[in-house]
Symmetry: C2
Subunit: 423 residues, 2 copies
């Protein structure tokens, strides 16, 4: 997880909002339609309500939002299989998704027609009255879009970069193929779960006939009003998670480790790769483990997040320190093995905790970390994950889902995400 | 859903908090233990951080919290089957649960021992650094506690009020028995999902050996920072939901319709009955329905929530009004049939929206309303639900889970919830 700092891509929201819109509609008694008055009222409201968790993150731009954006509180992730059969249908889908995403992230309805009595409204309505809530919508393309079962469905085979493929077998995993992979993905993040749900629901609806949902995942993180922004969030093992992460402010690191450069086909330059891993935590086993062992497994103090051996949370771990019984940070401690630094690589983590009820077979809680990371090459994640084969933590976790998506660069207004790929 | 108003049982939190505790622990380097300094620091922090979504709802008192408490943003609900075999074990469970719930709702760890290296910590730790976030924990007892398969396991058979039984078959349902019923339930509500999860996880852990989780449900509602408190929340059909509800301020109505009186066995007097229904919405069908039909089904305008025929949201529907084509509010509109007023009864609704991914068989979103209501007699819900057999809405919903619990009155400090039942 990131450290919760704000980037300068965020600013107080301006202009029309779902809230302004519904208020105007109510006053005018004119349904969910929109007149000039709505715009002005929305703007006024926006300034009045300004504050954390209510802002608008710009959709259009050089990069897609939702990568270096300061992490929002909630996630709704969905992966889709494409059922469209022609390049034209695929292009129409991406154009419609892009236009709807631009509207939704600005706090507008998914489409303009919401007051025609004899038509289904373009927008399903449950986010009316909600602020934009820093909604970001990030689109990705999976390997199956380029070739499925040997068939080059959309004439894209030659455009697939070799790095875009499913992960090979890795340690500590029992992958469920039905909740892995996908031809396209949508990562919707917002400080309001209803806003994130609304986005995925309306995009899925727009995609009907062209895509079917393959799997989805909800997640939660820091809650802005009940934790402090400068505190590193804790994962469901009770440890701070995300202390050592690429910083959104560090553009040199981003260029080196996150943004795809000239090595990639032109359509992907300036974009990134996303890897998702649903990491189930074996919570009941973990909760029966004593504190010293928990700290030995992770390599940090549980209360403070400081590396074992002293110092404070953000100090570099002293991996060479030795105590009377050997290394202070165990040879197979999670922080030692999971740090890309020793491997010469880094990744930008942006995961969310999840809880999906409990496992009916074992009666154990089905909860953990929906790990999302961004990198210039999925091999960066693979390198780090391979290094975890001896990780003490593997006794308490299992990766149950895996996916890799290429994240195209952002779109300019009037264009669409993935335009470079299809043109 | 309730209307989001605050009751006077809420006040700024005071005293020790998870946040103060962890900070002190960090400063002192003393693990998750607690000294006098922690208390003072916590108190100071509390005042500094005061604001919506951070408060403490008192646990001890005449009634259990979580019934008339202004609705929090998030729900984690769990139902359990009791595997304990003796009344003494059952009592020990309820005593431990009560003590832990009192601590958790005050923003304290689930138990005091969190810094012994050779013991598993009493608290799992993921809520350290989070404010109390208006956490409430409400316990209920189901019919199975009194008799299961004809066996009077705990000598309680004679204490079961006849009203405490599973719901008979009702309209618009396809009940899954595996996610229905339960001997005990925990309703954890908070403005922070991690705090609600933490509560259920730690209580389930304390209950290990005495209970097994039978089913659980997450839910979400209004998000305090991204919607306005005075706005009625919208459900996932896009309509305002909860306009006509019993008000927490209306003590005469509560006494008449929500709190159990002298008609009940002494152990339940001052308590209530909870009915839960997982109402799946057939979202894809609904989203294909035109606006006029959606409004006809509900009986209200979608944008404003005003009853059809004019006025504003909180105006009484004019059920007698007729237009050129018959009643303005259809004979089988949801608001006409679901209002208990015509039936001489009312219930206190306190439900949450849910989304559990999607149905792998149909590819449709698995989302809807986890309906919770409180009433003096479960027959009140039954009466209203029976009246919905012709409801137009039934084409778009299905009840997939059902449960009934008796909610004992609150506990005094040093006692435990359910003490009257077991003594």
């Amino acid at each position: 997880m990131t450290d919760g700092r704000r980037t300068d891509e965020e600013r107080p929201r301006r202009g029309l909002t779902r809230r302004g819109l519904i208020t105007t509609a109510g006053v005018a008694g004119a349904g969910l339609g929109l007149g000039a008055a709505g715009y002005a009222l929305g703007q006024e409201r926006a300034e009045e309500d300004g504050g954390e968790g209510t802002g608008t993150v710009p959709f259009w731009g050089e990069r897609q939002a939702g990568i270096v954006t300061a992490q929002q509180d909630r996630l709704h992730f969905a992966a889709f299989d494409v059922t469209a059969e022609t390049p034209a249908e695929l292009e129409a889908l991406l154009r419609e998704w892009t236009a709807a995403a631009a509207a939704l992230t600005a706090g507008l309805p998914a489409g303009p027609r919401n007051d025609e009595p004899l038509l289904p409204p373009d927008d399903t309505g449950e986010a009316f009255g909600h602020l934009p809530s820093r909604l970001t919508i990030t689109f990705g393309v999976g390997p199956g879009l380029f070739e499925r079962d040997g068939v080059d469905r959309f004439g894209l085979r030659s455009r697939r970069p070799p790095e875009l493929r499913q992960m090979p077998p890795l340690p500590a995993e029992a992958i469920d193929p039905d909740r892995s992979g996908g031809d396209l993905c949508i990562q919707a993040c917002s400080d309001d779960p209803q806003v994130a749900f609304h986005a995925v629901r309306n995009l899925a609806r727009i995609g009907r006939g062209s895509v079917v949902m393959r799997w989805s995942q909800l997640g939660f993180g820091r809650t802005a009003t009940t934790t402090r922004a400068q505190d590193t969030p804790r994962n469901l093992m009770g440890f701070k998670d995300g202390t050592n992460n690429v910083r959104a402010e560090d553009s040199a690191e981003l260029d080196q480790f996150v943004w795809v450069g000239d090595e990639a086909p032109e359509w992907l330059r300036g974009g990134s790769y996303m890897v998702t891993r649903r990491i189930r935590m074996l919570i009941e086993s973990w909760d029966r483990t004593n504190l010293a062992e928990q700290e030995r497994v992770i390599g940090r103090e549980k209360p403070t997040g400081a590396p074992l051996g002293g110092g404070s949370e953000f100090d570099q771990p002293d991996l060479a320190a030795r105590g009377p019984e050997g290394p202070v940070i165990a040879r197979d401690a999670h922080i030692r093995l999971s740090s890309g630094d020793a491997l010469g690589t880094r990744i930008l983590r942006r995961g969310y905790s999840f809880t999906d009820g409990f496992d009916e077979v074992t009666g154990q809680l089905d909860a953990g970390l929906f790990f999302i990371c961004f990198q210039r090459d999925p091999g960066q994640f693979e390198t780090i994950q391979r290094n975890l084969s001896a990780d003490l933590l593997n006794e308490y976790i299992v990766h149950s889902s895996s996916a890799v998506f290429a994240i195209p660069p952002g779109a300019v207004e009037g264009g669409f995400v993935g335009e470079g790929l299809l043109s």
